[in-house]
Symmetry: C2
Subunit: 410 residues, 2 copies
Amino acid sequence: MVQLRRQILTYGNFLNQFQLNIKRNSSSLQIKDKKVIQPERSFRYTDLSVRLAGPEQLQPKPDVSDLAFGKYFTDHILKIFYHETLGGWQRPEITPFENLVLHPASKVFHYAIELFEGLKAYRGVDGKIRIFRPELNMERMNSSAMRTGLPVFIGEELIKCLCRLISIDQEWVPHSTASSLYIRPTMIGIDPILGVTSSESALLYVILSPVGSYFKKTKKDIGISLLADPRYTRAWPGGCGNYKVGSNYGPTVYVQKEAIEKGLQQVLWLYGDDNELTEAGTMNVFIFILNDDGEKELITPPLTSGLILPGIIRNSILALSKKWNQFKVSERKICMDEVCQLLSENRLLEIFGSGTACIISPVSYIDFVGQLLYIPTMEHSNPIYKMLLKHLSDIQYGVIQDHPWAIPIE
Amino acid sequence: MVQLRRQILTYGNFLNQFQLNIKRNSSSLQIKDKKVIQPERSFRYTDLSVRLAGPEQLQPKPDVSDLAFGKYFTDHILKIFYHETLGGWQRPEITPFENLVLHPASKVFHYAIELFEGLKAYRGVDGKIRIFRPELNMERMNSSAMRTGLPVFIGEELIKCLCRLISIDQEWVPHSTASSLYIRPTMIGIDPILGVTSSESALLYVILSPVGSYFKKTKKDIGISLLADPRYTRAWPGGCGNYKVGSNYGPTVYVQKEAIEKGLQQVLWLYGDDNELTEAGTMNVFIFILNDDGEKELITPPLTSGLILPGIIRNSILALSKKWNQFKVSERKICMDEVCQLLSENRLLEIFGSGTACIISPVSYIDFVGQLLYIPTMEHSNPIYKMLLKHLSDIQYGVIQDHPWAIPIE
């Protein structure tokens, strides 16, 4: 069903990227060995049951031009319950898309016992449907689960289940290389008991949404604009900024609204007294410069701080850039002072964000303590953000054939 | 129905306690004026509809000795929907207790768009049921709503609705001064659209749970034990540690589990390089000492940092202590170094936590970077934690009659 043997090649690199060690004051926290995945405790694809929607339950498919992001959902849902008292994971089931019925005391409603992932299925130029590096999402999902007191599982088994779901709803994968089918695995704590403790009951579910662009279209040649306000912090050492958990998002809504009220689109998250760049909205951030040695250099903040989500597009951009070997590639701290200095010397070439939802988004403006900085990202004739975007897109949509990152669903 | 005129007396003090200003680098953020409550947009008690459970729907009431915390729920639930597209708040409704039915893309499941409150109803020695300073919960709930992009409302209207709910389920208020009925107002974002934005649809609901002690009973003369590990941080400047939102709790579960695995009960949350004490588990923290001037002094960390929840028991302890005028009362920073120093000089008399769930919990042990510190909280013949606990309890259970903090439900 899925060509899983390929993923083994990519595991090692990504594992290095994961910050299961939270570092603060040079001491480190290791996720306990005993918490690693016990194969005999995972759910299995072979136990999957499928109940298809009747013809009267099928929803009309929206027009590709009306897609936006996460507004429409397909006809089926994958659900896997976990109950400690019933031996752990239950059998996976695909059913017609339906609402969740939950006890009002469920931990997810009160204590944000929740995590999610985001990946996409692409309909390639050859008609085949592919998913992009799903094993990395599984790795990260398990890492988030450990951090949230939720149960872990074998990633391959969930990949197989969700490929089956996509296969059932394959007509929902847009026939367009500007669109895709967004896959949202989610896990929530559902114990109906108040009190802040680990979950003994959980629900892992996957829903699918045909999507267009994450950002509303603005003028064609203008990249996104960011609010960089030192009063707000997204993540902190000893917190969970490097996990994909609900808690990292709720507190950002207010700040995001502040940005929109100022006519900006997203927030550039800074950290510390030297205004270190960490993330842009829900994206990782990259900066492309002429460095002190006159070399071109692509820089992104390092994962070692524990403040940054280990993004899969981030990882892929670093891997591609290093392979191309056309410019220097660094993971290091970047501060707003350096951004301003480079701008004043015309050495800042590009800033862009990366993420599964937006892929790569060029940045044109940063509002920083009262100044509106103009970033010339879109002025170059052959910007690297475009080269990267095209290359990733060519892999995802099968223009580059048989790439090990793009796994066909059969 | 509720003696609401009294609450006006207490508002002013508590407003001072709220940190609507998030401070970092001495700049400040003001929650926008336009976001304050517009009376005409709130729901109203007079619109409340009630549908009572049939006799077959009534649950058996558990034995008082089996209560624990948040395990049983009463026969009814209060729900109030908010839909921007339908003009905002809808009519409040009390129905038989039931599960919530929600779209799997609801923001609460993915981005922790959620907040809650906790207060209690007490069956007094005179048989009357009272609630304790509910107007402060409403104030804080609205403050959390503003921070989370959720809608605000008139606190008095929700107090009236929840008193009606308690009145309907009054037989669930335990006949015991060691137990109470815990009231859990919750608000969640329910828009079925992926994408991290403010909520245009929300659900405010209230459930009731008869409760005993928050902590499992240990030996009678031993207070709780805390893990103080500098690697973990609960909240940070520019975050939302001073709001009662789900995001503050999810990331603590892992650390809480770590504490339990070490044989300890809760986490003492530290902040910064000087290991400033912030909170203990889900409680505010107090320390009672002999200060450098030989005076007795009660200290709790200040709210000004934005790291600490403005607790209602915290506020009440400060108010009572100041009124008693028997010892000095301070809101100031306390660091672990000072705790160790005071201990070594036999000047640390008591440490205790405060919160609605636990009321006041004496602390006997702190595990701090490999040392197990013994705190002599329970060794004194007339400890102040006991005096405070008794006084608060006497107010809550009507032993002290007609106290303005205890509002009878008629």
